[in-house]
């Protein structure tokens, strides 16, 4: 991280010295007149009031990364079950199980893949498209899941 910072600083200094930067968009908004009628004008105030807890905290919530790695067994199990239902052409069951998995980890790309594939089979291309898009958000670039999702995307009507 520090290395990146040094590069950024050096780059910015170099750009500054060379004077080859572009202008920034300005937001010096002029006072505008509105042609639509005015209405209620809420005066929004936000004073700071210190919080006095009613009860002492019993939980220290954990900051965690986007993928709850510890749920991987649960996700793997549900992915297998969902995949099995898909293979058996029980698409509604495959969808129900995949959704169950997404309630545990909404960033599990393999579950979006089963959903997309199931909706393709159910001829619901709109939802298939959405699940492909979601899966691609969370799939590692170049992974097998990403490739399969991309393939479905290409096969769907635009």
């Amino acid at each position: 991280m520090k290395k990146n910072l040094i590069i950024i600083v050096c780059l910015s200094m170099a750009l500054h010295l060379s004077g080859c930067s572009s202008n920034q968009p300005q937001s010096t908004a002029p006072v505008e007149e509105s042609s639509v009628p005015g209405g209620e004008q809420p005066n929004v105030v936000q004073p700071e009031t210190p919080i006095a807890p009613v009860t002492p905290p019993i939980v220290t919530p954990q900051a965690q990364g986007p993928a709850p790695v510890l749920a991987k067994n649960a996700i793997a199990s549900l992915t297998t079950q969902s995949r099995a239902q898909y293979q058996a052409k029980n698409y509604q069951a495959a969808i129900a199980i995949a959704e169950r998995g997404l309630r545990i980890d909404r960033r599990a790309p393999e579950l979006y893949l089963v959903l997309a594939q199931s909706y393709v089979q159910l001829a619901n291309t709109q939802l298939a498209q959405q699940f492909v898009q979601q899966g691609m958000r969370y799939a590692l670039a170049g992974s097998e899941v990403a490739q399969k999702l991309a393939k479905i995307k290409d096969s769907l009507p635009r």
Partner: protein, 779 residues
């Protein structure tokens, strides 16, 4: 005999009474007899039809049952021992020293944070499959499930607990029952019931003359009705077909119908119907019928799990559920229970030692239910509204549907505590009365509503503020103004300077609108994200007018607001009325990184036989780019790190990234807060029903309720991973140009790579080098 001869002699034709007269009388009698027989036959045919129609048809109008979401246990699940135990208690699990039967759990605490549980589940028929009863061992440590194994010590990937029944949609007569088959009864149950209520049930044909004569004799001796001679079949006929009125005119059809019932149906069919029909108590206006529901009502456990003394109590209640009410008359109920235990012993069902032990045991009742028909009235209200879009009211009341919802009882309980305690504390602190509050909690991503509160008294059934109180949302609107800007990254980025100078806008009626900041100060040029973090009205109004009212309104609608947005300048700082659930719908899109998902409360509906009727599948639609929502989430995190809601981190660990926005309306009539983690979104409103002034701002009221909830909820932070095409840079807060960490006024912001400034600002070294909050949590 002599007298008889005399009489005969008198009737002799020689006495002057013609023979044909006798024949006529005989004929008349025969005709009358025949008519009587015909009438009796017709009546019997009619009764036979009545008996068979009801018995063969749908016996009862069955209420729809509403279930919470099932708790899914897996390694890594954030949960605390106390939350887990509350959930298990609500499901009726009993703590034991060793696992003997389903519905038990053993608790072994290593410390206050590390607890091990051995559990014997009950199993449950879900929409997709039946979960069989199983034993598992769960270890909770440091606020999450550390391990989950089966009885052989093998790792279990997942355990799905049975859901909590959270309410019902009842028939108009408010009769409630859970159906049970004879093979679903615990040992000794049938024998005990027959021993107490009808010893000769298996021998008689519906009516027992012996029992009637015995009862008559006892009643005559006592001079009062102290004993009944009704068989169990007659009791069923009385409850099932007739009225409760005690009269001879009712006794005759009762006897006849009992004979007919026994003629057509087997003893086991009659007994099973009786077990499901009998009245066994009252919960408010709800009538408790059948032993299966009575078991849940009095012991909060399935009937199959009842022990000897519990069986005896329920059987004893048949004699008079109200008279022997075990909560109100525990001594009387205990005496009755012990009488039944004596009968069980006398009949050889239990030995003396068992009888003595059972008679010495306490009643072991569950806590008495409050008298409301549903535990979570605001949530169930929303369930009903959504169901009515797909089902007839009559079907909901009578078809025994099983409705699986999204309610998370542990979240709901924490939300209720937070609202109740904090509103009471605010009323006391500010010496005011009549504050009201509502709250909506959803899971982020699925759009499932986890908790809903429509009143500061969460058990109150009535006006549902979470759904029906539409109020101006104040500054909660501002993120949508900024999102509209961030969706145009070629023009607007978080670091660009925005003027917070006074702004004057001419309205359609010719009047000038001049919004002021809360502190009545102007802040000059501020970075765009800071204008949102500090909720500057002047900067927001200026930005909104630059973008156009229509563009901002379009964003609000795209985020999921179903109503019309008034196209007036004041809309930009909150002159839009929304209900808490509508706010939740729009903020869910912000929390879910730009993906719109309709909020919903129902997952599945099954019919009474367990066949799926309808699924409510996950639907989603990408409405905003990942990059713009990531930038917006950054600004909303800044609200809590350095802006109008920064007091929240007085009670949260800095390592937990949270995002949100405060909102306050004119004269502090409404106090709002909308905030989210990576898993939970919660919207809170606090105000008064008459829309009068309160002493509360968004930060002073609603934010505090929100913080109380989130503090108790194990959750994960907001996503910190920047999407593709976006990275962090040091930006000069004055100019929006590139800067460096050590430069004065440098801020660390996520920028679109494509539109990153290429020019660097002049760098003056910072006097104090303070690490930026984002970098603290990122490392």
């Amino acid at each position: 005999m002599t007298k008889r001869r005399f009489l005969l002699r008198k009737k002799n034709p020689d006495s002057g009474f013609p023979v044909w007269n006798w024949k006529l009388i005989g004929l008349g009698v025969a005709v009358v007899f025949l008519i009587c027989c015909l009438l009796l036959g017709a009546w019997a045919i009619y009764l036979d039809r009545v008996v068979r129609e009801k018995f063969d048809g749908k016996k009862w109008a069955l209420p729809s049952r509403v279930y919470s979401r099932p708790l899914e246990l897996y390694e890594g699940l954030p949960i605390t021992p106390s939350l887990y135990e509350q959930e298990m208690e609500a499901l009726g699990y009993r703590t034991a020293t060793t696992l003997a039967t389903s519905g038990q759990m053993v608790r072994r605490a290593a410390s206050s944070r590390e607890v091990k549980y051995e559990v014997f589940t009950r199993g449950f028929e879900f929409w997709d499959k039946r979960e069989e009863p199983q034993k598992y061992t769960l270890r909770i440590d440091e606020g999450k499930v550390a391990s989950l194994v089966d009885s052989a010590g093998e790792a279990l990937p997942l355990v799905r607990m049975e859901p909590e029944e959270i309410g019902g949609i009842y028939p108009n007569n408010v009769e409630d029952r859970l159906l049970v088959k004879l093979n679903g009864l615990p040992p000794l149950f049938g024998e005990t019931l027959l021993a107490v209520e009808d010893k000769h049930f298996l021998e008689h044909h519906g009516v027992s003359p012996e029992a009637i004569l015995r009862a008559m004799w006892v009643n005559l001796r006592q001079g009062d009705v102290v004993q009944g001679g009704s068989t169990l079949t007659q009791q069923l006929v009385k409850n099932f077909y007739l009225t409760q009125k005690q009269s001879l005119s009712r006794k005759i059809p009762e006897a006849l119908m009992s004979l007919l019932l026994e003629l057509h149906y087997s003893k086991s069919q009659i007994l099973e119907t009786y077990i499901n029909e009998v009245y066994l108590g009252q919960s408010g206006s709800r009538e408790i019928h059948g032993f299966a529901l009575a078991s849940q009502h009095y012991f909060r456990k399935p009937i199959i799990e009842l022990n000897t003394q519990e069986v005896a109590l329920l059987v004893g209640l048949v004699k008079g559920a109200s008279y022997y009410n075990p909560w109100r008359k525990p001594e009387r109920a205990k005496e009755r229970r012990n009488t039944v235990l004596s009968v069980m012993h006398a009949e050889g069902l239990i030995d003396e030692k068992q009888m003595r032990s059972a008679q010495a045991s306490p009643l072991s009742l569950a806590a008495e239910n409050d008298e409301s028909l549903v535990n979570y009235p605001a949530f169930v209200d929303l369930v009903k509204r959504q169901l009515k879009q797909d089902y007839q009211e009559e079907d909901l009341r009578s078809e025994g549907l099983r409705i699986f919802t999204t309610l998370a009882p542990m979240v709901q309980r924490q939300a209720e505590k937070s609202v109740k305690a904090r509103v009471a504390q605010l009323e006391k602190q500010h010496k005011v009365k009549d504050l009201q509050a509502s709250m909506v909690v959803t899971s982020v991503g699925s759009g499932e509503i986890l908790a809903l509160i429509g009143d500061k008294n969460p058990r109150f059934t009535g006006f549902n503020r979470a759904l029906d109180a539409r109020r101006p949302i104040g500054s909660l609107i501002k993120p949508f103004v900024f999102l509209t800007a961030l969706e145009q990254p070629q023009t607007y980025q978080l670091g660009m300077p925005l003027s917070d100078d006074p702004v004057s806008i001419k309205s359609g009626d010719g009047k000038m609108w001049e919004p002021k900041n809360a502190d009545n100060l102007s802040h000059g040029s501020v970075p765009l994200y800071r204008a949102l973090a500090h909720s500057y009205n002047q900067a927001t109004a200026r930005l909104g007018m630059q973008l156009s009212l229509k563009a901002v309104a379009k964003t609000i609608k795209a985020a999921g607001y179903p109503g019309e947005v008034p196209l007036i300048p004041a809309m930009l700082i909150g002159a839009v009325d929304m209900s808490p659930i509508e706010v939740a719908g729009t903020y869910h899109t912000l929390a879910a990184e730009g993906v719109y998902t309709p909020l919903h409360v129902i997952r599945e509906v099954l019919n009474a036989e367990g066949q799926p009727l309808k699924r409510y599948p996950l639907e989603l639609d990408q409405r905003f780019s990942m990059q713009s929502t990531f930038a917006l989430q950054f600004a909303l995190q800044a609200v809590l790190r350095e802006g109008s809601g920064r007091s929240v981190y007085n009670s949260f660990p800095e390592s937990l990234p949270l995002a949100g926005k405060t909102g306050t309306t004119n004269d502090q009539r409404d106090s709002w807060f909308a905030g989210f983690s990576g898993e939970h979104l919660a919207i809170v409103w606090v105000g008064r029903d008459d829309n009068s002034q309160t002493p509360l701002t968004g930060a002073g009221g609603a934010l505090q309720v929100w913080a109380d909830l989130m503090r108790q909820l194990p959750t994960r932070g907001v996503n910190q991973r920047n999407p593709e095409g976006m990275s962090f840079s040091w930006i000069d807060s004055q100019t929006g140009l590139l800067s460096a960490e050590d430069c004065d006024g440098a801020i660390w912001l996520p920028m679109r790579d494509e539109y990153r400034p290429t020019e660097a600002a002049e760098c003056n070294s910072k006097a104090i080098n303070e690490e930026h909050w984002w970098r603290k949590i990122f490392h």
